[in-house]
C-alpha cells in the first residue's frame, strides 16, 4: 500500500529532517510511527501526503509514485495533521461537502457516511455551526469524518488521539480496524505508546531523522517488555 524507499528530506539552514528512511506498509497494516519531538515523524508524514517536497528517495502509494502522479496518489489516501487547521469560515457540513465533492462521493453515500460518523462522534448538532466556533477536539472529529467520508485506502494520521475524548478515541480505533479489515492501511504517528502497542501490528521508531527500528509489533515486544521499555532502550542505544 505504501512504500518509502531511501527518503531524504532536509530543511534549508537546518540540520533537522529525515535521512535515508525506508518503510513498507502492506494492506491490512496498522503501522505506528514513534519517536521523540523533532525526530522527523511529521516531516515523513508530510512527504508521504505530498505536502512537502523531498530531496531524495521514492514514495509509492498503491504502486504509484507520488512525484510522478501526485493526484492519483492523493485519491488513495486521507491525511490529517496533528493540529487540524480547517477552514474556519465554513460550517462543519460545508467542509464535509467540500471534501466529498473533491473526492466525487455520491449524494447518497455522503449522506449515509456523514450521518453515521457525525452521530458516532456526537457532533451532528454542531454541523451547521462555523468551524471557528469548534473546540480542538471537535475540529479533530470533523477532520476524521472528512477523512472517512471518502473511504480512503490509506489513512495517514499525525497524532490522531490528541484532543479526542475517550469515546471518540474508541470510535477512531474501531474505524481504523475496519479500514484494515477492508484491505486498507493506516500509517500514524503517536506518543501514546500503550495505544500503539495494543492497536498496531507493526511499528517503526525514528530518532534524529533516521529509522532505528521497525518490524512486527509481536516480534519487537515478544521479550515480555512493554513498547515503552523497548522504545527507551532502542533510543538510548542509538544515542550511544
Amino acid at each position: 500500500m505504501l512504500t518509502i524507499e531511501h527518503l531524504t528530506k532536509h530543511y534549508k539552514g537546518s540540520s533537522k529532517g529525515v535521512t535515508d528512511l525506508s518503510l513498507h506498509i502492506a494492506p491490512g497494516d496498522i503501522y505506528a510511527f514513534i519517536g521523540h519531538n523533532g525526530a522527523g515523524k511529521t516531516t515523513t508524514l508530510k512527504c508521504v501526503a505530498g505536502i512537502l517536497e523531498f530531496d531524495e528517495g521514492t514514495i509509492l502509494i498503491d504502486g504509484i509514485d507520488i512525484r510522478k502522479d501526485p493526484l492519483a496518489c492523493k485519491r488513495q489516501f486521507a491525511y490529517i495533521p496533528d493540529n487540524p487547521d480547517i477552514y474556519e469560515y465554513l460550517t462543519g457540513i460545508q467542509y464535509l461537502e467540500f471534501i466529498a465533492d473533491v473526492f466525487a462521493v455520491g449524494a447518497r453515500e455522503r449522506q449515509e457516511r456523514i450521518k453515521k460518523y457525525a452521530d458516532e462522534f456526537e457532533i451532528t448538532a454542531s454541523l451547521g455551526d462555523l468551524v471557528s466556533t469548534y473546540s480542538h477536539g471537535m475540529k479533530q472529529k470533523l477532520a476524521l469524518i472528512s477523512a472517512l467520508v471518502h473511504r480512503p485506502k490509506l489513512l495517514i494520521l499525525d497524532e490522531p488521539f490528541v484532543g479526542l475524548d475517550p469515546k471518540a478515541a474508541v470510535i477512531l480505533k474501531n474505524a481504523m480496524r475496519r479500514i484494515c479489515e477492508e484491505g486498507g492501511a493506516i500509517f500514524f504517528s503517536t506518543h501514546v505508546l500503550d495505544v500503539a502497542e495494543k492497536l498496531c501490528n507493526r511499528v517503526a521508531i525514528i530518532k534524529d531523522g533516521t529509522l532505528i527500528a521497525s518490524g512486527e509489533m509481536e516480534e519487537i515486544v515478544k521479550s515480555g517488555q512493554s513498547l515503552e521499555d523497548i522504545f527507551m532502550e532502542v533510543v538510548e542505544d542509538a544515542g550511544e
Binding site: K12, G13, S14, K46, A49, G50, I51, E53, P70, L71, A72, K74, R75, Y79, P81, D85, I86, Y87, E88, Y89, L90, G92, I93, Q94, E97, F98, I99, A100, D101, V102, F103, A104, V105, G106, A107, R110, Q111, I114, K115, D119, T124, A125, S126, L127, G128, D129, L130, S132, T133
Partner: protein
Amino acid sequence: MRENDNTRKSGAMGQSGAMGQSGMMEQPGEMEKSKTMEQFRAMVRMELCNIFGLNVFRHTRDSRAKKKSLGLLCLYVFLLAAMAFYVGGLSYGLISLSMGEVVFAYLIAICSVVIFVFGILKAGNVLFRREGYDMLCALPVPTAAVVLARVLRMYVENLGLSLVVLLPGTIVYAWIVRPGASFYLTLLLGTLSVPMIPMAGAVLIGVFVTGVSSRMRHKSLVAAGLSILVVLGILLLSSRLSAMEGNLNLEMLKNVSAFVFAMLEKLYAPAVWLGKAVIYGDFLRCLMCVGLSLAIFAAVAVGSCVCFHQICRNLYGGFARHDYKKEELGGLKRKSVLVSLCGREFRRYFASSIYVTNTIIGPIMGCLLSGMLLFLGMDSLEAYFLIPGDVGLLVPFLLAGVFCMMTVTSTSISMEGKNWWIARSLPLSAKHIFDAKILMNLLLMLPFYLLSEGMLVLAIRPGILEAVWMFLIPAVMIVFSCVYGITVNLHFPVLNWESEVAVVKQSASAVLGGIGGFVLAILCMVAALVIPEEYSNVLRGSVCVVLILATVVLYRGNNRHAMAWE
C-alpha cells in the same frame, strides 16, 4: 518568559535602587506603577520588534525568504523614492509660485488624509487582532498595556509615513528659503503630532465599525459594509469640497495662498494651524496644536482600552447554535470540483472584512465613475480628474484601471495561510485551484462591471464600434488583472501569517497586484492621449490583442509553475 523574567528583575532592581536613594521602602502604589510601566515597555518591544517583518528578516535562515524580503524592500524604496520625488516637486512648485507658506499645511493635510483613510481600513484588525489574545488575557498584564502597545505600533508606522511626506518637503523648503532655528524646532515637535488626530479619528471609526459588527452574526460582512460606507462618505465629502472650488471669491483669487489655506481649513483645519505654526516658527501655537492632538489621541486610546475586552469577546466568541438536524443531511448534493472550490473561495472572501474592503472599493468606484458620467455629465469627469483631451476615448481605460486597482487574486493564495495543507493533500490540481480563484474574482466583478457599463452606455450613447471598445477594454483588462494577480501571488506567497493585514495590506503581492492593472491603464491612457485620434481604433485593438496574449501566456505559466506543487 524571558520578558517576564526581565520584568521581574528590572522591577526588583528599580525597587532596590529607589530604596538606596531615598533610604525608605517604596510605596505599594508606586511599585504597581513601575511594574505596569515595565509591562508596557515589554509589550511595546514585542509589538515593535517585528514591525515591517524586520525580526523575521533578521532571524530567518531561509535564503529565498531573505531574497524575497529584500525584493519587497526594494519595491518599498522605489515607491518611497517616487513619493519623495512627488512631494519634493510639489513643494518646489509651491515655493516657486510664491506659495511657500502653504507648503507644510498642504503636506500635513496629505499625510493626515492618507493616515485617516488607510487607518479606518485597518484599525479594527490591528487593535483587536486575535493573535495571542488568549495568552495575553492569561498574563498579569493590564489591558491598557496591550491596547496602548498596539496603538503605539500604529503610531510608529504612521509617523514613518509622515516623515516620508514631510522630509522631502522640508529639505526643499530649507534649501530654498533657509529658515531660522525656530522653524526646525517647531517642525520637529509638530511632526511628532501629525499622525495623532487622523489616527484617533481612524481608531474611533475602526472601533465603532468593529464594535457594531462584532455583535452580529455576519461580523465580517457588516464590518466590510460599514467600512466601505465610511470610505465612500469621505470620497463624497471631498468631491463636494472640490465642487466648492467653483464658488471662488475674487478676493481669494488675489491671494492664492489664502485661498489654499481656506480650502485646507475646510478639509482639515489642524493641518493649517500646524502648518502656519511651523512656517512662522510660532512655538506657542505649535505647542497648542501638539497639546490638542495629544488630548484627542489620549481620549481615543483610553476609550479603546475601556471597550477592548468587550469587543474582543464579541468578535471571538462566535455564534454556535448547535441546532443542525439530521434531516438536513438529506439535502446534500454532489457538485463539480470547480463549483465546490469556487463556492469555498466566495465564503473565504466574505469571511474577512479587510479582504472585502480592500478589494471591493475598485469596482464600487468604477460604478460611481459611470454614475457620475450618467447623472452629472461628461464635464464633471473632466473637472474632477483634470483630464485633458477626449474623455470619451479615455473612459474605458480609466474604468478598467479603477476596476483593477486591487484584485482579489493577488492575495488569494496567501489568504489560504495555515489551511494550505488541505489543498496540498487533496487530489486537486493547481489548475483547479487557480481556476476557481480566477472564476470567483470574475464573478465578483461581473455585477459591478455590468452596472457600470450599462450606466456608461446610457451616459455616452456611443456608436456600435465605440460600444464594443467600451465593453471589451475593461473586460480584457479585468481578466488580465485576475490572471496577473495569481502570477504575482505565486511568486510572492505569504502563508505563515498571523494577521490578515500582513497579507492584504503589507505583502509584496498585494502591492504589485494593486498597482499592476492601474499602472497599465494609466500607460494606455497616456498612449491614447499621445497617439493621433485617427489611430485610436488601432491603439485600442492593439491593447486588447496584447492583453489577451499576455493573459494566455501568464495563465499557462501559472499552471506550469504550479505543477511543482502538486
